[in-house]
Symmetry: D2
């Protein structure tokens, strides 16, 4: 049995907690942290967690908990990992590990120095289909892997901080490319060194500075090529597909839109369809058990089994660091328009990251006030805010992510 401190109460904290408490699990979240005391308390009540805290250090140092799970925005991973290392607790950190390879490297070194167990929560490598496909590939069913394709696209993330590069570290690449890159790397073989990366990216649709669409190629030692496609501009739900091609075979995985579950409804049902689903009538493509299909169940099994057995999990902080190094090369390539080397051996001296801008919620106004104040994307349309994304939440509320035209700050409202 593992006793866990959960850091974060957003979508990812919810999925993680549901997974850790799900099925006939023997594990329990014993403390939950949110920067908002009310949110922490409410989350603890909903999920049956005995303690709640709005003090990060206190939550991590809770003597009852053995394992710290970091489900915070990207700009708070480093701090949380450092505190866990100081507390000597096992730490599991959500993806991406850092915003840059430099940040990830610091986190990697922190856990190594502290000698604590650390796991990188790259769930999409752990979907049951991916696990079986990886096993078949290792058993030789593909021969030598020549090409992988990993695609994750949807209409855009659900929290404001994702859209703010200072907090997240980038756009669609840092958000989802991390998944795709590690999936490709897992099929090609973790012993193969990534040599160079090319990436095209653009801001095609949203009023943001980060890329909302990108396509990348990572070339590995031995000649295999790993292609990724990430987008916040996709319409039709969440497109999560992987393909592998080798000298002896080919694999196609569809994790979300075509999984053998098809439903037409003229009536709808008033409920939640699936993450990022668009629409509630017509042909819908639900998934069976979402946390299972997305790999959370098998990921935490590996993590906690590994922790109990004092072995390394399949996905380590080192894997997270390498993914960040490849992403760094992708961002460099996006600017240079050419293949860029993946820098693994030589560490950058200066991270050069400016501190994250203050992120404000539109708290001084009611959602209705804000809604009236949203301007259009076209020129000449007034209003203080630009709309980035509107999304229906699992609990039926509506979230709006907005950009303040003057300050450029990204805020969100829920009504």
């Amino acid at each position: 049995m593992a006793k866990i401190t959960m850091l974060g109460t957003g979508l990812i904290g919810t999925f993680y907690t549901q997974t850790l408490h799900g099925l006939r699990s023997r594990d329990r979240v014993v403390n939950v942290y949110s920067r908002s005391p009310e949110r922490a308390k409410a989350f603890a009540a909903e999920q049956g967690i005995p303690h709640a805290s709005s003090d990060l250090r206190e939550a991590i140092q809770d003597t009852e908990s053995e394992v710290v799970v970091v489900g915070l925005p990207n700009d708070r991973h480093a701090e949380a990992v450092r505190l866990a290392a100081e507390a000597g607790k096992a730490v599991l950190c959500t993806k991406p590990l850092g915003r840059t390879a430099a940040e990830a490297k610091a986190m990697l070194e922190a856990v190594e120095e502290a000698g604590i167990f650390a796991g990188y929560l790259e769930d999409l490598v752990y979907t049951p289909k991916t696990l079986k496909a990886l096993a078949s590939t290792r058993n030789g069913a593909m021969g030598r892997v020549l090409w992988t394709r990993s695609r994750e696209t949807h209409p855009g993330p659900h929290s404001a901080w994702f859209w703010d590069p200072a907090r997240s570290g980038g756009g669609a690449i840092i958000d989802m490319g991390c998944h795709c890159i590690e999936i490709g790397r897992s099929f090609i073989g973790k012993d193969k060194r990534p040599r160079r990366a090319f990436c095209w990216g653009a801001t095609q649709v949203h009023p943001i500075t980060a890329e909302d669409h990108a396509i990348g190629l990572v070339e590995y030692e031995g000649g295999a090529i790993s292609q990724f496609e990430v987008s916040w501009t996709f319409r039709g739900g969440m497109d999560l597909r992987d393909e592998v091609s080798g000298t002896e075979g080919t694999i196609r995985l569809d994790h979300f839109l075509r999984t053998g579950f098809e439903m037409f409804t003229a009536a709808g049902e008033g409920g939640y369809v699936a993450e990022k689903a668009e629409g509630r009538t017509g042909w819908l493509f639900p998934v069976g058990d979402e946390v299972h299909e997305l790999g959370y169940v098998h990921m935490f099994r590996d993590m906690l089994d590994a922790w109990e057995a004092h072995r390394q999990p399949t996905e380590t902080f080192y894997d997270g660091y390498l993914v960040n190094a490849i992403i760094d090369a992708c961002y460099a390539s996006m600017k240079s328009g050419r293949f860029e080397p993946v820098k693994i051996e030589r560490w950058p001296e200066d991270i050069g990251a400016t501190g994250p801008k203050t992120q404000a919620r539109a708290e001084g106004r009611t959602p209705a006030q804000v809604k009236k104040d949203i301007g259009g994307r076209g020129p000449g349309r007034s209003g203080s805010f630009l709309e980035i994304k509107t999304e229906r939440l699992p609990d039926g509320r509506t979230k709006r992510i907005l950009k303040d035209k003057k300050s450029g700050r990204i805020v969100e409202t829920i009504d």
Copy 2:
């Protein structure tokens, strides 16, 4: 935490135990029964079970265990349930509950009289896709359900007793129709009374007396029709599909052959593909996590959660009894060629079941001797045995199910 006695060490006992011990489960099998002491011991060792027994009563009465799981051939369900009732243990019985409604009714009454918790292990109602589709249907997405189709077909079961009607209670209908019937009933609504059933069945391919292919229709109060298709003659793997049609919508579920996992391999990989898969090269359609896709994980969650909470599980012995009553009507219809009423209120006076014939393994001969002694299906071909089915087991061995031409007995060899 539940402490469990597992009765049976065949494919179903293995799947059940793997599920109960799987993921981060808090439950444990503490005793396992097989009629063969060697098999019981070996199974216990493989699965990490502290006690093994070849005495059914002893295994059930083990004071450490709280829950008895019946994973035995159909002709031993009644005995096992009676012993569990006598021992006052909670009992979970695999499908079908009985070989006939009369047998099921006796089991239902035994657990009611003993006042014990009892669950009917109808796994395919619990697949994650089915659970979600049922929830959508209850929420109104289909409007009024008009039609269901449930199909389970494959190249035939893996153990000799399935092929022997005296032991199993029939052929493909008793083996798989029980799943399909309960799936249809769940979508149409358990409050709707099944009125009448029609069934066509035939022995199209195998040298057996039971049906290896059947198609049935069950008409419910309110007018909905529930169609099932079961076969041991299907080629291409295991076909597990459900469809629902209502006034407002339609659902299509594919549990096994088209689930978003497609693999072509010219090389193969030397391993196990999926239950009932044919072939190891070419286009293959594996499933991700088999016990999950088949509903075992969510079934045991419901069963053990219900047991802990002192509530009824979703699938009860009464459900199992009703399924048997519908199957009885199907077998009657197969003979009469017409719709037959589903007899629920009035119980048949005479069960008329002859005792199961003695089932012998071809133990006096080596597999090689038996292999040489298999005659062809065509006339004029000699040999003592007719081959019913040859199947590659997950562990790489080959099982042959044979019919002794003289005695008609069904035997199996493994080499």
Copy 3:
């Protein structure tokens, strides 16, 4: 080159004419008949046909035309075929051949006596997929065919006469079962005699007397079973699927909903999606070239090639007659609740068909008046008409099919 008289200007006449004039065809429709002179003229203008007529005999006897294509409502097939036989013209008749086997037998005998070329326009046997699957089956890929399934379901036909059993000869079975039965028969082998048929049918949704949903089983000499599912209650588009299972293989065909063309659109496009499609936004499943996918192109190729070569086409009037004989058995079974023999050798003495009731359009009223006068299906809701079906036509107009509460007559309006 074939010079053709087209009888009928409804959906089927349109599809036929588009096909005959389509691609780089050398054939031409030279005369078109509609009972309405205006409609005949307009159709001729649209389709580039030199002559139009509202006199059936005149259109058939046009000396320029060599081939008569019957695309009329079912109650006018016999008359049209008789006139073509009298004129000594080749005749191609749409499905079903007759409303009953007796009617079909009379048509068969008429063309035999006149010694004219006659073809049965069973298009779904001619879809390119079906043709290739039939060829593979004849080449042995399936071994011995054991089972076929053919399903055609959609939200209901587009013309009023379909819904009136006196004119059409029945409901969903006569409308679509004729396709499914002939598809099954083609896979099983036309040399195999259909022995007996079972059929369940019901009026589940619409305010009509004919069945709007039916499931049938046809058993053939040799033991193969052919299953059909037809419905006017399906939601989600047009479901056209066939399956075949044999001792050596299995085939799955999807002709309409999942053919490798998937589209999500939040915007729609203001146009026609596909026959029977529901909705214009969300996930849509168009087909490429509809007349090709539905078999019209290859059907007319076979028919006209056969006519030119003085050979029999694949689908003859005798096939049409057999299909009617099977349908007769299905309707008998629907009433008796049991398998009924398929009567082929002994011809019914008395056709016993009452003349078709007069079919009236709601011509005395404007569509708007009628729309206001539609009552609900529930009790106590007033209005002179019950709504059977509302459908958007390819040309953007809306058709309503209604039942006059007092007279029971079925009428249609277009606005």
Copy 4:
């Protein structure tokens, strides 16, 4: 009616002729050219063509023919087009138009100067699915197109000249990239100028100098990105898929492997499955009517309708030239590792193409002799030839494409 001279009797000449003579076509091939008089004669006999010739000029100048169809290897397109221009005949040229933009430009100018009708036979833009998807896109269903993906991969082409860059102009890009590029361009809009292209390519599997796998990105004016994936290393058949993503929707097309036709056969059928299919048993995915699914039928309709109507076809020589210009940029990028501009306005002065090396068949030896003389790919394995590809032909014969180790020449044998 069109009277046609067919140049070329390979796979493409066969498909073209079958299409032009297929269904109820009014068009006829009246003369066929092959450099081998025997092949020309045999082809004419098989396809019902009255005249055969092994003299290119003579075949083109045949006064009976009105339209010349170029189905020759890439290195003979320019000559054939020039001769057709000289003869004042309409000319339709297979893809790619040239081996380079310079070559294509010369062909474009030749037909413009001669004032003849010219069409670019880019069949995959004309598949019925693509035509309908393009129409939906033009109607606004996608909103603004942001991304296209076009993928064509298979185990390698069937004729030796494809593998010889001097004759073909390159590898997988020139062979199949031309399709993908034009598909992407058609969805994005032909009025949008391609700005720059990036391409990765490698020789991953075969003993050739050209790329057998490539991935490219073409960026258009307005910001849309068009991705292509081409490979001769794919296993599992022919993968022909397109995807489109826009601000309002998404499209997925599968033209070959998942089109609603699935077949499992343990027996096989001794016949031809589909172009590039691997294997004849297990799960197979045939297509219905291959020339239809690949767009040949609708392509020739557009071409010949346009020729008759004195209008431009959808695909012109100018389109072919632009595709070549983009391919030129891709090849430049493959070398430079960076985005390269697509040069359209400024024409390269010097094509720099060396004349095609002499292509020899292994005629002095029997196929059996050659087969014995094939060395392995590994080091130290002897034999005069390296095997590039072995393929079963539609007529049941086996073709081997080989590389002469000493001379580097690529030859083929058929047995």
